[in-house]
Amino acid sequence: MTGQGIRSFEEPAIERREILRYAQCSGCTDEAMLGLMEECISECRSYASFSYRVSYAVLPLISCDTVSGQIDMRHMSITSRDLARNLDGCEGVVVFAATVGPGIDRLIKKYTKLDPAKALFMQAIGAERVESLCNSFCSTYPEKLRPRFSPGFGDLPLSLQPDVLKITNASKNLAITLDAGFLMSPSKSVTAFSGICR
């Protein structure tokens, strides 16, 4: 069980509650705020040129030791007890990188100069978009997938990012790149592991 692929998605449905949460506005009912959010959503639709793409690899789970944290996926070996616990009992692993593209980063940068409240909503929309994309991708799997687990969670280090991008071919397929601190550009990108169960 090994292979690499790319998937493109139609625009996932927008989760406004999530946007409000990311903008630190959970439960907000103020009409002006909600109006501002809608304005930002429609501006994103016109100018962020979101493209919803996932580049992924499916790897076999050869061994997974929850005590030592040793995980062997044939083409990739990792030591992480938290991830091992997450993958325990699975027969394979989907490793993926998802991005909605860099257009939103430009909007964020623009509004950081022009209108900080809109910049905040743009950030929130970007975060919601990429999470919704991950949901769309995971829900297409015929098998049951475990909750996704990303570098940076628990004891799974961010320094794993270069390997994740390599194995998923995400640098070539999606042009996701890393800076010295292993942060991704475009910023609204996610990498994750998800166990495949029967």
Partner: protein, 833 residues
């Protein structure tokens, strides 16, 4: 045979996928394919021979990722590239030897260059010049190793594509094929359309351009249509065999060789000249294409010059023609005191603001001029260009008389720039035209020469003719020239406008070239200048003017523009004109009536418990920027209120009300930000008033103005939204804030703290990984600037954590930082520390 010669008269068949075939023969996911050149040259030779056998004229050497980013050891990089070229050459020879038919087919070995795998600034961290250097190292080795041409492939970003092409042009004379990866929306990941890429790449002298990878042939129909409609050079089509997906643990593609070939043949009939396959395609796919082309006896569609006059940004082109182009003139210090000051103080936000405001007025291009005495113009112009391109996708007109500054800015510019300017002086033409040839560009040519500005239209046209001839000798066609016959003021010579207008007519009608004018000059020295400037604009448009450098904030100018378009059938259903007219009253109306009282403005809240709130406080609380600015102006001018009293009695109480409401979780963060922005607008007016008073010998300072704060996001961290919010609020409360930005070195922070003798240093970090850098910065500040208090904040921090790393204070949010700063300021004014 020379590849350029072959390309001129023939279809060129490229190769197909490599990575997927190598994987079938043992390449593990994540392994570098280029290492196979050293470990398994026989496998690579075998695959490449099979492409030559199948009909390929060009096969890419296995060097897609062979660059200094992947192979930091240059010795190994050389080894890999030399081996790759030799393997490909061997494959061609073996194919020649294998059949008579193959021997007749011209074969070329291409040095293949893919992305460096790091995104360039402003999206990523890689500097443009570093990218050029990396590509140069690789292509130099490729040329030395004996490649016949270079293929720049699978680029996702306009600027990286430019870096790669520039590296080739600066390193060797090999022909270059450039293909980018367009997605389902028909754009590159960073936003460029095929037309935008065409403008830039043709300008820089690419030999063939087009698309590869990303999608199957069917999904790329739209992209190919756009390329064929605007490209004058041969167009390249190298799609995937559809998209890869994992099926039963195997990577499979969904387009068969037959389907692929049919679609490719259709594109060849439509005008595509260079074809091949990318991911998932095999020699079988290439064979089907060549067989089908032969069976149908396809002949290449002749190339035509599309004769487009274009500039471009990293997203779209702007074409010059019948529809007039507006070039915003406001990024220019001439006659603007505030702008000059911004340049001296390096106030980039102000400069960007001028650009963004013009963009809101729907200009098509922004002129960028930062020339003042005693500045490093090449550096400042380049920085301004980069910063503007980070926030706006409008093409830029680079405006400088310093050739060094022009070259620096043209290198950094992402797209095909408009160049302002060249003129008839030999010295200027010999400095500027080589830059146009190298970087591409659409050039404004002033009809001046060594003798100055000719008096008559006839003489100016003579200069224009000479410029056209000289440009041709550099290989620059008239489609890349736009003439500015110079607009002089009628207050000095009342025939000046007539001469200029006659020039525009001749340029358009007789020479068939484009004309542009810096329109505002015509009214210099006259009252109500826009009234006559707009008249000149309309008259020049009537005579065929293609573009104007103008002030988009002047309603008269915009009215001339929208009217002209509506009157000349350039505005279907008069839609744009109606939009302009509909917003006219609201937009250009003067401030709210003097002495606006509570309840008198439509935006005023009707809530009973807010009835006592003054209009200004109301505007700030509601976050209404324009209202806040207008009311403040009217309070000062009409009511004669003291500016400082407005701050203490209106602005600060309003901010406090919002701040308290935020702390009580009744107001949300975006609302707090909007209020802060509205207050900032009021401060702009108040500050201007205080400066006036200061100049007149009076005036005072607000209570926190003596308290200096230096803030930064620490080294290694690029998250700055929180820090920006803190800065905004602190400024609102009158603190003097210096913002060092993000990813700031500890030493830089300390140097600034010492230079400003700052009372407070604010540090922000979002990630646990950058907290050590914060700790280091705190130590250094405490050691070198013991008077300064360090306040920290950011998502990962807590009071406990802040204590542990030695911070003097922790703020859980932006209001917290204001409260702490007020405390420090109060202690300071009491004389204590």
């Amino acid at each position: 045979m020379d590849f350029r010669q072959f390309l001129k008269d023939n279809f060129v068949i490229l190769d197909g996928g490599m990575g997927s075939l190598l994987q079938k023969r043992g390449l593990a996911p994540g392994e570098k394919p280029e290492m196979f050149n050293l470990r398994h040259p026989e496998i690579v030779t075998d695959i490449q021979k099979s492409y030559f056998d199948a009909g390929s004229n060009v096969v890419n050497a296995n060097t897609f990722g062979a660059n200094p980013m992947s192979f930091p050891d240059e010795g190994q990089l050389r080894e890999v590239i030399f081996a790759a070229i030799k393997i490909c050459r061997d494959a061609a020879r073996l194919s020649d030897e294998s059949s008579e038919e193959s021997r007749k087919r011209p074969k070329f070995v291409s040095f293949d260059m893919g992305s460096l795998g790091q995104l360039l600034k402003p999206y990523g961290q890689l500097d443009f010049e570093d990218a050029v250097k990396a590509f140069s190292v690789a292509v130099k080795i490729g040329a030395e190793a004996g490649a016949d041409l270079v293929s720049i492939e699978t680029m996702n970003d306009c600027l990286e594509t430019k870096a790669a092409l520039l590296a080739v042009k600066e390193t060797c004379d090999l022909p270059v094929i450039v293909t980018d990866a367009f997605d389902a929306t028909g754009r590159l990941m960073t936003g460029a359309s095929p037309a935008a890429m065409t403008a830039m790449l043709e300008g820089m002298g690419a030999d063939a351009i087009g698309t590869n990878c990303s999608l199957g042939p069917l999904q790329l129909r739209g992209v190919m249509k756009e390329f064929l409609s605007c490209a004058s050079v041969p167009v390249v089509f190298k799609p995937n065999a559809g998209l890869p997906r994992v099926e039963n643990g195997e990577t499979v593609f969904d387009v068969t060789a037959d389907e692929f070939a049919e679609e490719v043949i259709m594109q060849m009939k439509a005008g595509v000249r260079v074809v091949g396959g990318c991911c998932g395609t095999t020699p079988e796919y290439i064979r089907k294409v060549t067989e089908l082309a032969k069976a149908q006896d396809l002949k290449p569609v002749p190339l035509t010059d599309k004769d487009l006059s274009a500039v471009s940004s990293y997203t779209h082109p702007v074409y010059f023609g019948k529809d007039p182009i507006l070039i915003g003139e406001r990024i220019n210090p001439t006659g603007k005191k505030r702008f000059k000051q911004a340049l001296i103080e390096h106030d980039m936000d102000y400069i960007l603001g001028e650009g963004l405001r013009q963009a809101e007025e729907k200009v098509h291009i922004l002129d960028v001029n930062v020339g003042i005495p005693d500045i490093d113009e090449p550096a400042l112009l380049t920085e301004t260009v980069k910063e503007l391109q980070a926030v706006t996708d409008l093409p830029l007109q680079i405006d400088t008389s310093d050739p060094a500054a022009m070259e620096a800015a043209l290198r950094a510019y992402n797209g095909k720039a408009m160049i302002n300017s060249v003129n008839g002086k030999e010295e200027v033409m010999s400095a500027i035209f080589p830059l146009v040839k190298k970087y591409g560009g659409f050039v404004v040519a002033l009809t001046i020469d060594e003798r100055g500005i000719p008096e008559t239209a006839h003489e100016r046209i003579e200069v224009a003719r000479r410029i056209i001839e000289t440009a041709e000798s550099y290989g620059i066609g008239r489609k890349d020239l736009i003439f500015d016959p110079l607009c002089m003021t009628i207050s000095a010579d009342t025939t000046a406008a007539l001469t200029t207008l006659e020039c525009v007519r001749i340029l358009h009608d007789e020479l068939g070239v484009h004309a542009s004018l810096g329109i505002s000059n015509v009214s210099f020295g006259l009252p109500k200048r826009n009234l006559v400037t707009s008249g000149m604009f309309a008259a020049a448009l009537e005579r065929g003017l293609s573009a104007a450098i103008m002030n988009p904030f002047a309603p008269e100018m915009m009215s001339a523009y929208y009217s002209f378009r509506a009157l000349h059938d350039l505005d279907g259903n008069c839609t744009d004109f109606i939009g302009f007219a509909d917003s006219y009253d609201e937009k250009y109306a003067v401030a709210v009536p003097a002495g606006a009282k509570p309840g008198s403005s439509p935006e005023k809240t009707k809530d009973a418990d807010e009835a006592d709130i003054s209009p200004l406080a109301g505007a700030i609380i509601k976050g209404l920027k324009d209202m806040s600015s207008k009311i403040t102006a009217s309070m000062i001018k009409e009511e004669g209120r003291d500016p400082l009293e407005i701050v203490s009695e209106e602005v600060i109480p309003a901010l406090n009300a919002v701040g308290e409401s935020f702390e009580a979780k009744k107001t949300y963060l975006p609302q707090l930000l909007m209020s802060a922005e509205a207050a900032k607008e009021a401060f702009v007016i108040i500050k201007a008033e205080l400066e006036k008073a200061k100049a007149a010998g009076g005036g005072g300072e607000s209570k926190n103005s003596g308290c200096r704060i230096v803030i930064a996001t620490v080294k290694g961290d690029v998250h700055d939204i929180g820090k920006n919010i803190v800065k905004l609020l602190l400024e609102n409360y009158g603190f003097e804030v210096t913002d060092l930005g993000k990813d700031v070195d500890p030493q830089t922070v300390v140097d600034e703290v010492i230079r400003r003798k700052a009372d407070i240093c604010g540090l922000s970090a979002l990630m646990t990984t950058t907290v050590p850098a914060m700790e280091e910065t705190i130590k250094l500040v405490h050691e070198k600037a013991p008077w300064c208090r360090v306040m920290v904040g950011g998502a990962v921090l807590t009071q406990e954590y802040a204590d542990k790393i030695g911070a003097d204070a922790y703020s859980k949010d932006a209001m917290g930082s204001v409260r702490y700063a007020e405390k420090v300021s109060a202690e300071k004014s009491r004389g204590g520390k």
